[in-house]
Symmetry: C2
Subunit: 154 residues, 2 copies
């Protein structure tokens, strides 16, 4: 969805906005992906999962992860599998409900993530460098409200 509007009319400005939004996020995403690969030999999805887990030292269920990351269940399974095989996260079976397992960062995973996250924050600062702090706040507010209005989830 990167092409331009194909017609004029009432929805035209919104369509333009959507295309800009998508191009912007794709461009930044591509750049971040490339740097994650080059500098840390990792991927965006792995980073996302680790970021979520980093905020929840007590761990997260698979379904928590997929809900939070806005991706499907089956998707998370594969990413976590790979992270487990790399020793960065663990799946701890629970006594209470044996269908579920708590996913947690390992010590190594936590250290690894902290280093990557620092670089990542700098990259974002750089890539969004032409947006002033004020503009950033303003844009953030607009995006926040639009989304929460559209659908109840958050």
């Amino acid at each position: 969805m990167v092409a331009g509007p194909t017609s004029t009319g009432p929805g035209k400005e919104r369509l333009r906005l959507w295309i800009r939004l998508l191009r912007a996020s794709r461009t930044i995403e591509a750049e971040l992906r490339e740097r994650l690969k080059k500098e840390f030999d990792t991927t965006l999805p792995r980073f996302d999962v680790m970021a979520a887990l980093y905020r929840s030292p007590e761990g997260m269920l698979m379904s928590d992860l997929s809900r939070f990351l806005l991706v499907s269940n089956g998707n998370v399974t594969g990413i976590v599998d790979r992270l487990v095989s790399e020793g960065l996260v663990t799946r701890a079976r629970r006594n209470g409900d044996r269908r579920t397992s708590m996913v947690r960062l390992t010590e190594e995973g936590s250290k690894s993530f902290a280093a990557i996250a620092a670089a990542h924050e700098n990259w974002v600062g750089e890539l969004l460098g032409t947006v002033s702090e004020d503009e950033a706040r303003q844009l953030t507010g607009m995006l926040k409200s639009f989304r929460s209005n559209w659908e109840g989830r958050e």
Copy 2:
């Protein structure tokens, strides 16, 4: 990249913005993808390619497509392959340079796209419904300038 900032500091607002941006575009993208599937049995990448071709009745080279859509060369190959096998686009060998071929929408592809694009525009209007036309213009402007400042491509 859907998690929250992990620290405070100068880049914090930009990181917040990036996360909002990404969550917004992922949410909308997911919704559009689902509707394209349900209503037209197609996908976002196919739609993107067709949208690009619709704007260029004279056709596009594979490399034009990948540059325009911000995706890799090999990626476009696969998508166009599928569209060709569905009879929606053609690859016309050229006399001049036999490495290249002009990719064009077929009659059927063009009709098919027009119908989908109309629905698509309505969906975007609906999904961004809470953004006023003015806000949309303003946001678009911000996104446009930030991107063209960051890197020369357009």
